[in-house]
């Protein structure tokens, strides 16, 4: 199937999201104080390739479920996007960004069909490496400004649906976390019953910080401790 030049997918084809364990970041509670179900999709997401009426005109009200194949991948996609990255891959994040945040390990029970946006699998939807689509997809899966991706996400959604397919979600490689793949599932057709919860780690605790440090170390990054207290602070009245 071919499409016009405005179609971001040269062909509509699907890859498999394997049934295995993934990591996802979510808040412990919503702003109204109600607890968050770690296996729920987020209809308020404004993250990469999110689709909801507040982000693009004509957009349907969908829920977004982000999950990554590694904890570092999930952390970078959701929390560390604007972290300071020093030479030697040292990561500093102001700690208020961790407040109320959790990382859940979740297991997918059956394979799902998604559209792959990372190489080499992107070739099944963009066979021509010289196509304008190639550069656009590189931007979309790497930009730190997620606002730039929302119109494109809606366009892909409409393209897939117009061709008579269900749009289950997308995948792309994490730019910062080596070998991690990030998945975005849309609800519908996302079904909570396809998933089981293994563990939830509160990130704003000493144990959570240790978990982050370990997860980042596996990806080759060093987590910087909060530079406060102790000899980081002066005595009163110091000049």
């Amino acid at each position: 199937m071919t499409h016009g030049e405005d179609a971001l997918l040269e062909r509509i084809a699907f890859d498999t999201m394997p049934a295995t364990i993934y990591a996802r970041v979510h808040p412990a509670r919503l702003q109204d104080g109600s607890p968050v179900d770690p296996l729920s999709a987020n209809p308020r997401s404004t993250a990469r390739m999110a689709i909801q009426p507040a982000l693009a005109a004509r957009a349907p009200a969908l829920g977004m479920f982000y999950a990554a194949t590694t904890s570092a991948g999930a952390l970078f996609e959701a929390l560390l996007r604007h972290a300071a990255i020093y030479p030697k891959r040292q990561v500093y994040l102001p700690r208020h960004k961790l407040r109320g945040q959790c990382l859940a390990l979740v297991e997918l029970r059956r394979p799902l069909d998604i559209i792959p946006l990372g190489l080499p699998d992107r070739r099944i939807v963009v066979p021509d490496p010289d196509s304008w689509r190639e550069g656009r997809w590189r931007e979309l899966i790497s930009t730190a400004d997620h606002r730039d991706t929302h119109a494109a996400a809606l366009a892909v959604y409409e393209q897939v649906r117009a061709a008579g397919f269900e749009h289950g979600g997308l995948s792309w490689p994490s730019i910062q976390a080596p070998h991690a793949v990030v998945y975005l599932l849309y609800e519908p057709p996302f079904q909570r019953e396809d998933w089981s919860l293994i563990q939830v780690i509160a990130l704003d605790t000493p144990q959570g910080e240790a978990f982050i440090a370990d997860a980042l170390a596996h990806a080759g990054y060093a987590w910087l401790a909060d530079p406060a207290g102790g000899d980081y602070e002066p005595e009163p009245g110091a000049i």
Partner: protein, 365 residues
Amino acid sequence: MQDKLDKENKMGHHAYAAVYPMAGRRRDMSIHGHVAIMEIPADGDIRFGSRPLASFIRSAGAASPGLGRPDSKGVLRVFRPDSDADWLSRTEIAELEKLARKLLEATRRMDAFDQPAAAGTSPRLRQDRSPQAVRYFELFADQAVQEVRATELAERASRMLKRADQAGSSSGVLFEIEQYDPSATLRSLFEGFSRSFRAATATEAETSPVAISAPARTPVQASAALRDQLLGLGWPTSAEVGESHGSKAGNKGQWAKDRRDRGELFGVWSANERTFRHPTFQFDETGAIRPFVKELLAALSANPDFTPEADKGGWRRAFWLHGPTQALAGANGAARAPADVFATEPAAVIEAARAMTGADTHDAW
């Protein structure tokens, strides 16, 4: 020899688990040259090596000599001309990766497995009912796969080497599949090959090569080292700032303290020296405090971590101000540090400080 294979640094821990033992040249060879090999097991570590062309003379069912049978259902070996018998250069490895990617993409695009070719279409890889242990193929023009008889392999390899000598020639991809599990289908083998290839190269396709190594320091040690590194930049002390601004006070440091207390100047505590030091991005060439420093500090103080009370020593703010962040990515997409940008784009830095404070993390999941 700077361009030679660096097994440890190129692709991280997923690849280069081992390399083939290199064979020596044979003086009595009737055909000359060497062939570089990329060996991709189904779900395993990729390996590289080189073989003399003469070793491609073989009978049916004989595989290319390698390290022995890996723990896998089968392996894919991709071949290309090798310029040097003793080393594989980075360029040759990159070329092998390119060929392997081309092959995996083409076979996937063709859906080339487990079904007979329809009349009038390109030849396909087919799974027969009694798979041979070793089979040889050539991919032409990214769209046709032809099986090669074992007795023709050396001739095809020789032709490949000759084509490589002809500038501008477009050669196919010669490859070999050795199957260890007779029940495995070609489709399942290629899925395994793709997974192995993806694991070794997926992020490289989008970013620069990555070497993974565990950090040498704990988070606490790393932060202390970064603080010391920043202090080593020689930022002026309170007394030095006072002197440069012509302070007549008896305590030369008082001028800087007063500005810090009024939110007009930013300093960090140096415990060893028992004084504050002041990052130089705040000062212009004459030593005067730049415009908009006060606005920047006000924007930062809206962050609960960055108020003067929560950050008495200034180091939380210093770590944010001096760390490259994508929030201030330049035109080329590279992350930039607020301190490096402030002199020329103070508004952008102030906006990034506000955005970092105001962003609703509940929307980012």
